[in-house]
């Protein structure tokens, strides 16, 4: 009897020792180009009420060393090729009015801080960066709207996001934004699809664990649009939301739908305090 008890104690200690090898974020720190220090872990925002524990982590901390390395230097970051193209677009005349972005805006630097505060409510509507870009294309330039997840659109989103790199995510969730935030929160905890999985099932209750070959992160959006090695291109937040919901074997919402705007706000608010990493590199 005594022997059996001793054995089970040993087994449980081994279990404890073995667990950290895969679970949880690693302890690396992210410094871009050898100078820009990023906050990849910080105190969880109050509204989470301890749902993910005390700390929120950037998705960068859950990736392999090889993937992490691609984000350390802009020369190695494959997203920068698309960002470079966006700089060209910025200065290219498009549409019936004969204007480019540069006709009204001095340069992308003008948008420092914008991405950190989006989505936000304007005239009673929840607005994300894609809306603003396409809005200006339609109203000011008289140009065709870009497709939501097209590389021209996401390149521009990344270029504008890059201007806020290193700034903390800081979206407003009270006032006008409250009803949208509540809607997003409702979605986050709703189980979708034949597999009946909610966002929280993976990214809140099981971050750090493996889901088959994938190391689950907290599902933070501070690095979006991200360059995903799997797709070898920039991936929008809505594309990623759609992918996750599809994987639960559900009928998904459309990119650019009001549902995804609300979810984008809620998920962004879960990362309040993390540095903007745009454009990040992920698996």
């Amino acid at each position: 009897m005594k022997n059996i008890k001793a054995l089970s104690v040993t087994a449980s200690i081994m279990g404890l020792l073995a667990a950290p090898a895969v679970a949880g974020p690693d302890s690396d720190s992210l410094v871009i180009n050898g100078e820009l220090e990023m906050v990849t872990e910080t105190a969880a925002p109050e509204h989470l009420d301890g749902a993910v524990g005390d700390t929120i982590y950037s998705g960068w901390r859950f990736r392999t060393d090889e993937t992490q390395a691609l984000q350390l230097d802009d020369f190695d970051n494959p997203a920068m090729l698309t960002v470079d193209k966006a700089i060209d677009y910025f200065n290219t005349v498009d549409g019936s009015e004969g204007k480019s972005c540069a006709s009204c805006h001095e340069g992308p630097e003008e948008f420092a801080g914008l991405t950190a505060s989006l989505p936000r409510v304007e005239d009673g509507k929840l607005v994300v960066l894609e809306d603003i870009i396409n809005g200006h294309r339609a109203e000011v330039m008289g140009a065709e709207p870009w497709k939501w997840s097209g590389q021209d659109m996401q390149g521009m989103v990344a270029l504008i996001g890059l201007q806020s790199r290193g700034m903390p995510v800081d979206v407003k969730i009270d006032g006008d934004a409250a009803p949208f935030w509540e809607q997003g929160k409702e979605m986050y905890y709703t189980r979708y699809g034949q597999l009946e999985l909610s966002c929280a099932n993976c990214h809140e209750q099981n971050y750090g664990n493996m889901i088959r070959a994938d190391h689950l992160s907290q599902g933070q959006t501070n690095g979006f649009p991200v360059y995903r090695l799997k797709q070898a291109q920039l991936i929008s937040k809505h594309n990623r939301f759609r992918g996750c919901i599809r994987d639960t074997r559900a009928e998904t919402f459309a990119e650019g739908s009001d549902e995804f705007r609300a979810l984008e706000l809620y998920v962004a608010s879960r990362g309040n305090g993390l540095s903007i990493e745009t454009p990040a590199v992920r698996q």
């Binding site: 020369f75 190695d76 494959p78 090729l81 470079d84 193209k85």
Partner: protein, 109 residues
């Protein structure tokens, strides 16, 4: 000249004499292999970078032949020893006859 071709090079601006430095180069290029067909069944003509060279003060450092199986945006990283201050010249040769060059100077201490 093919569309959207842009050479990029990263070389440290300072180095100790005789030190091996890491050089990273990338050229954005479609690297169309010549094996693919368009939706009408016509072969899309080959359009690749077929040669890449790096020289330091006129002396050749690397000379690479590229083949059609190399992916979009070919990236080369290599080390070079710099005996004295000088200039690296990087040259890419396109199938269509275009030549793209980029230069970077290194100061030794």
């Amino acid at each position: 000249m093919a569309d959207g071709v842009k050479p990029r090079v990263k070389v440290p601006s300072k180095a100790a004499a005789g030190e091996a430095i890491v050089i990273k180069t990338l050229i954005s290029h479609q690297m169309e292999s010549g094996q693919r067909k368009d939706s009408d069944g016509n072969v899309i003509p080959r359009s690749i970078i077929n040669r890449f060279t790096a020289d330091f003060n006129g002396q050749n450092v690397v000379d690479v032949t590229l083949e059609p199986a190399i992916s979009t945006n070919p990236y080369f990283e290599f080390e070079a020893t710099v005996p004295e201050s000088g200039e690296f010249t990087f040259t890419w040769y396109d199938d269509d006859g275009s030549v793209y060059t980029e230069t970077k100077s290194v100061e030794t201490s």
